[in-house]
């Protein structure tokens, strides 16, 4: 897990280091202004089905130049499905709830809840998506749990590696 983070970080940092090397060495105003802007797109929650965790699949216009609509929709739809799996009401979740109640909720001290297990799955999926699809396009998906499950934050980095004069 950590090695993945390190490799992701290093892959970004290689690009950024290159920029920073140039900028600080030359100390030129012009150079300093260029890479400054990176914008963020927020995919909001979709409450049409109630309070369950679900994100809007509407494709944001800011990503049109970077990403396929299908790719984006597939990512969001998979996330929605994973959250639905976490919050699914069924025999298994009821059993877990009843067992917890009977043990006066002390069982949560030793056992991981089903929701937490799915959250780990989600963070692995997002890391995977970032590595394969989003990082090569200069984008970064933020896990919604770090934003309180309010938004899926997509950071758009200025693409400097493909020549100058954008």
């Amino acid at each position: 897990g950590r090695s993945f983070n390190a490799s992701l970080l290093s892959s970004f940092n290689i690009g950024i280091t290159g920029l920073c090397f140039k900028k600080v060495k030359t100390h030129s105003l012009q150079d300093l202004r260029q890479p400054a802007v990176s914008s963020k797109v927020f995919v909001q929650r979709d409450y049409n089905s109630g309070t369950i965790s679900k994100f809007q699949t509407k494709f944001p216009s800011e990503l049109e130049s970077r990403l396929d609509k299908q790719q984006f929709e597939e990512t969001i739809q998979t996330l929605n499905n994973l959250y639905a799996e976490a919050e699914k009401l069924g025999g298994k979740s009821y059993l877990e709830g009843c067992l917890a109640c009977l043990t006066a909720y002390t069982i949560f001290l030793c056992m991981e809840t089903h929701y937490e297990k799915v959250l780990k799955k989600i963070s692995r999926y997002i890391k995977d998506q970032n590595e394969k699809i989003y990082a090569p396009r200069g984008l970064l998906l933020t896990d919604p749990i770090e934003r309180g499950l309010r938004v899926v934050e997509i950071t758009i980095f200025e693409d400097r590696s493909i020549g100058s004069g954008r």
């Binding site: 290093s10 940092n13 105003l29 400054a36 309070t51 009401l89 909720y105 949560f108 749990i145």
Partner: protein
């Protein structure tokens, strides 16, 4: 890889200024702060963030005390008599019930009720952009609402000015705790915490078990006194022999009415999938004449509603109290302790922070001559770490966060001490174009800053 890069740079930095780098390392190891330390709401944290309580938890000790005292008196004075005269199961049942009551109470009090973390400055700016198309000249925009359809029912989502986001459905802002809480039921002073999505089941089990406990103790004490007075003694003599029973009787008598009433009320709420908040406001009651009164969250089945509310999956805490603040936490010792989420946070922050550094450098050269806004969450740390020497240009981005601090330090140096207030005011103004037009904005922003979390307006990219 982070570690290797850091060590490669070290010898060079050491040759520049050894003491400052050592200070830097020491300070890094010391100043790892957890997120609960900078939590903006009015909550208190214990056990390094494991336990969360509302700030005003004044009556919780009273509740605990009453329960413990009553149970103690019961076990000490009534049980010996009842064990000899009736059965040994009485203290056993009493013990199990009291344990359950105390556990549920503590669980309700110490669990995060479903607090929603406040919106990050970027998110807030994005929402402001979406709403504020016209750019009105009033300093406070009218209350913002958004209407959505849930199960063919129109639901209004309100904008929370404190948390800077549209509240999800069934979420309410608790003024005592200064937090938005999901599925907000009520703020219970007896429990010393809000009751919301995550701890409603604990609260419900607390009041149900407490009703059983008070009824049980009441019954046992009455039996005790009756049995004593039957042995050829009068009632008054029996009471004189065991005065503690009277105390218990009085406590239980007055508790039973309120607790049983509350249990009944909450059983009704659970069965119809309502919250106290919604019931009191009458959100769904008089809108339609159909059954279930148009509550879009109800499953129209009592068993399903009960199961969903009480036995549904346990949602995680969204505020991540024990996570570490995004710092230059690149030292190997701390990395091993971090749970997965904060590591990811560090990655994101280190990646973005270098960009932020460059943005800030640009803005500091801007003609307005404002101090660059900095993330206050890292500002107190930055003040300490900025004692480090300005790192050389060749320092790689894993330590880019330290450059961020150093950069802020050098940029902040020319600003006078009151710059922090000034930068907040400016950033607050710039986060919403409407604010710039208003003249009373300085005093307003000051008022806002006092009451609000230390958040910073992120300048939306042009």
């Amino acid at each position: 890889m982070k570690n290797c890069e850091y060590q490669q740079i070290d010898p060079r930095a050491l040759s520049v200024s050894p003491s400052s780098v050592q200070n830097h390392t020491e300070k890094k190891v010391q100043r790892l702060r957890r997120k609960w330390e900078v939590f903006p709401g009015k909550n208190r944290f214990f056990c390094d963030g494991r336990i969360i309580l509302a700030r005003q938890s004044g009556i919780l000790p009273v509740t605990l005390g009453l329960i413990v005292v009553t149970c103690g008196l019961f076990f000490a004075f009534d049980c010996p008599f009842l064990v000899t005269h009736l059965t040994v199961f009485i203290p056993v049942i009493g013990g199990v019930l009291s344990l359950f009551v105390v556990t549920s109470l503590l669980r309700t009090s110490f669990t995060d009720p479903g607090i929603l973390p406040r919106a990050t400055p970027d998110e807030a700016a994005d929402i402001e952009k979406q709403i504020d198309n016209s750019g009105s000249s009033t300093y406070r925009p009218p209350p913002r609402t958004k209407e959505i359809l849930i199960n063919q029912q129109v639901v209004k989502l309100k904008y929370c000015f404190t948390c800077k986001m549209f509240r999800p459905p069934r979420t309410s802002h608790c003024s005592l705790c200064d937090n938005c809480v999901e599925r907000f039921d009520h703020h219970c002073p007896w429990v010393g915490n809000c009751v919301g999505k995550r701890n409603y089941r604990f609260f419900y089990s607390f009041i149900i078990s407490l009703s059983f406990l008070t009824s049980f103790i009441f019954g046992c004490v009455v039996t005790h006194i009756t049995l004593r007075s039957q042995d050829g003694k009068s009632l008054i003599q029996a009471i004189q022999e065991s005065p503690a029973s009277v105390v218990e009787l009085v406590i239980c008598f007055f508790s039973i009415w309120s607790i049983l009433g509350l249990s009944g009320f909450h059983t009704y709420l659970v069965a119809s999938n309502l919250t106290t908040n919604e019931d009191i406001k009458g959100s769904w009651s008089s809108k339609r004449c159909t059954e279930e009164s148009g509550n879009p969250y109800s499953y129209n089945n009592i068993m399903t509603n009960c199961c969903v509310t009480l036995c549904g999956p346990m949602p995680p805490s969204l505020i991540d109290r024990r996570g570490f603040l995004p710092l230059v936490a690149a030292s190997p010792a701390t990395e091993t302790e971090l749970p997965p989420f904060p590591v990811k946070n560090d990655t994101n922050m280190c990646t973005k922070s270098t960009k932020d550094v460059l943005e800030r450098l640009v803005r500091s050269l801007d003609s307005r001559g404002r101090c660059p806004p900095g993330a206050p969450k890292t500002t107190p740390v930055a003040v300490e770490i900025s004692a480090a020497a300005t790192p050389p240009a060749e320092r790689s981005p894993p330590t880019g966060c330290s450059r961020q601090h150093a950069g802020r330090h050098t940029a902040a140096a020319p600003c006078p001490p009151f710059a922090r207030g000034r930068e907040r005011r400016d950033s607050f103004q710039s986060s919403n174009p409407a604010f710039r037009l208003a003249s009373p904005s300085p005093s307003l922003s000051r008022t806002f800053i006092l009451g609000e979390a230390p958040d910073v307006g992120f300048i939306p990219p042009p």
